[in-house]
């Protein structure tokens, strides 16, 4: 049981990292990214390949995972920077599909649908399953805390204020002399780096990556986490991720409650529940459960 809870804590932490990355992109800059899972996959494959094929140290390949993912993000942000946000939505959605296609078909590199096994992680030979999960959960949550602190600083800095201004009204930000396109590209790239880094951690945690793990549903998990927690805040991204894991794991017990329903149908119900939850949050409480509070400093009267 401890092992299971720790494993869930790891996944909550990975989703929290992704939600933090998304918060910079969507929460602060107001750019949509419906291909989150593509960046996560790029990160996971980069880390897995570097460590398995070239023996690169895990900390270094997780950084490489973030850098490569950021590079991909830069291409997409640059191509769509001047266009309406709808185009970025289409491009990112397509990107995630193409990543899965490449991962499934470039067998010489990715081993196709069989995936890459034996990605080095914590030494399982010396540690029990429980200890591995606990140590990794601790590690992931320390990284979540550090990333949340760094991004929180960035969000409170002038950089974050400009992003929020762009989110509210690009034209006004441009008139105020801000280089809107450059800020948008920077936000997208930093966010994509965090998404890729989360993927790298995932590869080292599970020790195995395969295209099947990178379904579009993961994107919906993370969007739900951020939206439910409160778009625009680092705190919301973290709380929301815990809620999403509670929801995905909580619905696991549907099978026990409804023994006559086939496993395929249970799986369908569980996936549908995630979609319904996102629609409900967007409709009923789009600002999230713990919304962003923007403090307006009153102009000092002279």
């Amino acid at each position: 049981m401890t092992s299971y809870l720790a494993a869930m804590a790891v996944f909550a932490g990975l989703y929290a990292l992704m939600a933090l990355g998304l918060n910079l992109i969507w929460g602060l800059a107001g750019m949509v990214n419906l291909g989150l899972v593509g960046f996560y996959a790029i990160g996971a494959y980069t880390a897995a390949l570097l460590s398995v094929k070239l023996g690169v140290a895990p900390w270094l390949d997780v950084i490489a995972a973030g850098v490569l993912s950021a590079g991909m993000g830069a291409v997409m942000a640059v191509v769509t920077a001047r266009l309406k946000g709808d185009y970025l939505a289409i491009v990112t959605l397509g990107f995630a599909e193409v990543v899965r296609l490449v991962a499934s078909n470039e067998i010489w590199l990715t081993n196709g649908t069989s995936g890459i096994a034996n990605v080095p992680g914590l030494p399982r030979a010396f540690l029990s399953e429980e200890a591995v999960n606990l140590v990794f959960a601790g590690l992931v949550w320390i990284i979540v805390a550090v990333v949340a602190w760094l991004l929180g600083r960035l969000s409170a800095a002038p950089f974050g204020r400009v992003l929020r201004a762009i989110r509210e009204d690009e034209m006004v930000a441009a008139v105020a002399g801000k280089r809107v396109i450059r800020f948008k590209i920077q936000a997208f790239v930093v966010g994509a780096a965090v998404l890729g880094g989360a993927g790298g951690l995932y590869a080292h945690y599970l020790g195995y990556v395969a295209p099947d793990a990178f379904q579009p549903l993961i994107t919906i998990y993370v969007v739900l986490a951020l939206t439910a927690g409160g778009t625009g805040t680092m705190r919301g991204a973290i709380i929301g991720s815990v809620l999403v894991v509670l929801l995905t794991e909580g619905t696991r017990f549907l099978g026990a409650v409804l023994p006559d329903v086939t496993p395929v149908r249970i799986a369908a119900l569980r996936e549908a529940a995630i979609g319904v939850a996102l629609i409900l949050v967007l409709t009923l409480r789009p600002q999230g459960l713990w919304p962003e509070t923007v403090t307006h400093r009153k102009a000092r009267s002279a």
Partner: protein, 290 residues
Amino acid sequence: MIGDLPQILINGVLSGAQLAVPAIGFTTIYAVLRFPNFAIASHASVGAYAGVMANTTLGWSIGLSLVVAFLVAGVVGVVSDTLVLRRLRPSGSLTTAIGAAALGIVLENMLRFAFGNDPVGFDLPVLRDWKLPLLDLRVGPQAAEAALASLIVMAILFSFLAFTRSGRMMRAVADNPMLAGLKGIDAESVARRANFVGMGLAGFGGMLIGLDTSVDPLTGARVVLPVFAAAVVGGLGSIPGAVAGAFVVGVGEEMSTLLLDPSYRTAVGFAAILLVLTLRPRGLLGERAL
């Protein structure tokens, strides 16, 4: 390799004709409601299942089943828009697009709940390819019939847009929503019509794809990339553009098989999107992208 070119062109045009139908659906909804409706893939699957049920369970002909696919997907489109997306539209196009992606997941899983993951097929006779005496070309009769059905639907759609009151109302809203409102055109009723037509076309296209391959909850999701590509290449929101874009993407996909593994066909669409957005964001026939 060059000798294969006429055959590749024929295959590309045939698959482009099929692609055009859902691409028109996607672009029509974009033109009127101004958001990318990512639930189009799941509606294509809904149409495919509706068609397969009509064909195998009720024993109806393929032609009649195509009509059923259109109607069922169209009705589901109107219902799901009324229940879900209409409420999100005031929050902006991106929030609505996210909601549409969530809606797609829900619909796909409703199909999975009802029919399971196993693919089902249509009741079709196996026919031999037609051989054209010219240049030793081959055409699959079913591919040709699907292309013909697509052309018929496109002809009906263009007459609808050009000659009926509903069609003119939709074009007016697509052109300038504020002016259309001033003229007394009810935006909600136009939205419903656009959803019915757009998702109906998606369902029709979904069944054509199902005829070509097989039907499962992800039938629509598998072709969504070329469909988006066709709409973007042609210019998002332009219906003639979607048709042109579909032929470009269809031929491009076939050409790519000369150089790449056939499993990368759909990736051609993604490359086309990036290329068009870099060089000419408004697409072949679109008007605005900024």
